[in-house]
């Protein structure tokens, strides 16, 4: 018997999403039953990695079969779900899914920053967004999408924030590695442009040497070391408002 198929039958009848650990427990339990056949006992002590491997294969097979449902991993647990394009009929049949109110734009932006840069302090979030985020952070905390992760080892020991398993469930993510463009967003490489074309071409004083400046790749946003210096410009220039 193929391990994949055993797992499929379990997931097919499961009342809740199952983690590889829970699947392993079931395999062990079945093998320990009195008079279990050789076939069943063969799956005793199947390592979790083997089960995970089988789950991924199974998921690929379902994907390839192009059915109306697929096998997905959300927050580390596996389940069958329907493809989104069948929502109109399912909504009519089962009703609208009971989901909390959609997040606001500031909420989503703040959550994205926390998700990619966690653990992160509020000051760091504000440096990226350029506005205060107190209210937004409070809302995200109340909705249990983020949690206090500890304190940063900088002056004032500010609170740091991280996402919760509920965050993964809400967005249907297998884990934090499943965030889109994770590598890029954790440390954003910014190319210094060949030439900074910020100068008004009508100005005769355009710096002539800028065009020859080679691109300098630059990385920033190390989440471990919250910088204490604000990224805004010095205050010297006159405020004309």
């Amino acid at each position: 018997m193929d391990l994949k198929l055993v797992i499929e039958s379990l997931l097919f009848t499961a009342q809740k999403p199952l983690s590889p650990g829970e699947l392993r427990d079931v395999l062990n339990k079945a093998a320990d039953e009195d008079g279990a056949e050789e076939l069943v006992r063969a799956f005793k002590k199947t390592p979790v990695e083997k089960i995970e491997e089988a789950l991924h294969e199974l998921s690929k097979e379902h994907e390839a079969a192009n059915r109306t449902y697929r096998l997905v991993c959300i927050a580390g647990s596996w389940q069958f779900v329907t493809q989104p394009e069948f929502a109109p009929w399912l909504r009519a049949f089962l009703g609208v899914k009971n989901r909390p109110a959609r997040l606001s734009q500031p909420g989503l932006e703040t959550l994205a920053i926390i998700a990619y840069r966690q653990p992160i302090t509020r000051t760091e979030i504000e440096q990226i967004r350029g506005v205060a985020v107190d209210g937004v952070v409070a809302t995200l905390l109340e909705r249990n999408l983020i949690t206090q992760a500890g304190r940063a080892e900088v002056v004032g020991r500010p609170m740091t924030y991280a996402t919760t398993p509920a965050f993964l469930e809400y967005f249907g993510l297998a884990g934090l590695d499943a965030l889109p463009d994770a590598d890029e967003l954790r440390r954003i490489p910014v190319q210094r442009p060949d030439s900074l074309l910020t100068v008004d071409p009508n100005l005769a004083t355009a710096p002539p040497d800028l065009a020859s400046t080679p691109p300098v790749p630059m990385e920033f946003g190390n989440p471990e070391v919250p910088s204490a210096t604000p990224t805004t410009a010095p205050e010297e220039p006159p405020i004309v408002a």
Partner: protein
């Protein structure tokens, strides 16, 4: 302070406005003409003032930066004074710093849009959930929710275990806070799907601690992060993170949360 949100709801801050102006130019962020953007940015701020809207400090700081950039470019390169301040060492160009911030902000804005589309999609997918079939080992009927008075009754029976009321003594600072206990409870509850009421208090060392844990629990019930059920009349109250009673009451502790989270 938040007035600008009412009229100009699209712009969540100076970076948002700046990004909008860059988009209007229809050029790459790296190619943008910051001096022109500066003019438009300030025009927008003036408009806000005409509408009698308070201009938030962040916008003013950004305007100052833009004017600074613009003013620098009025000078020939060799006459440009090296800007003071540690951030400006190694010839750091304020234009580049601004572009860097804009790029970073834009990436996260795009990431937020991706999260939003996932959020939408999650409303469109339906889980495969077979109804619970009546098998031999099926569990107890639906348990009624627990009232506040049941909870108070339960906690006072726990308090009886801590009978040593400090008659006279020093008054010391409270070593426990409700928010701290909420944090502990939240961590505890992730390890299992449900808990017996008394288990939450198992580690408590004093009356004060029991009371603080209880307050934390009430707060979490209010926030709908905890739900209480009672499976049998006069049975022990169960605390769970789910609004529905758990199918198999207290599950063994090794059913921990998935490792890959």
């Amino acid at each position: 302070m938040s007035n600008y949100r009412v009229q100009f709801e699209v712009f969540e801050g100076p970076l948002d406005l700046l990004l909008h102006l860059v988009k209007k130019e229809e050029v790459d962020i790296y190619q943008v003409n910051l001096t022109r953007i500066a003019n438009e940015f300030i025009a927008y701020l003036n408009q806000m003032q005409e509408l009698d809207l308070e201009v938030a400090g962040e916008f003013v700081v950004m305007a100052a930066t833009l004017i600074y950039i613009k003013s620098r470019e009025l000078l020939p390169r060799d006459q440009q004074v090296a800007a003071p301040g540690p951030e400006e060492e190694d010839g750091d160009d304020p234009r580049f710093e601004l572009i860097r911030r804009l790029v970073e902000y834009k990436k996260f804005k795009d990431a937020a849009a991706q999260l939003q589309s996932r959020e939408t999609e999650m409303g469109f997918i339906y889980e495969h959930r077979p109804g619970s079939l009546e098998f031999a080992a099926q569990t107890s009927p639906r348990r009624p929710e627990v009232s506040l008075f049941d909870l108070i009754g339960a906690v006072s029976s726990i308090l009886k275990r801590y009978n040593t009321r400090d008659a006279v003594g020093e008054i010391s600072a409270d070593p426990y806070t409700v928010s701290e206990k909420m944090e502990e409870l939240r961590t505890l509850i992730t390890t299992r799907s449900s808990f017996r009421f008394s288990e939450l208090f198992a580690a408590a060392r004093s009356r004060t601690e029991v009371v603080v844990i209880f307050l934390a629990m009430l707060e979490m019930i209010r926030l709908k992060q905890f739900f209480c059920f009672q499976s049998a009349d006069f049975g022990e109250i169960e605390v769970s993170t789910r609004p529905e009673p758990v199918e198999n009451p207290p599950t063994p502790p090794d059913e921990s949360i998935p490792p890959s989270a």
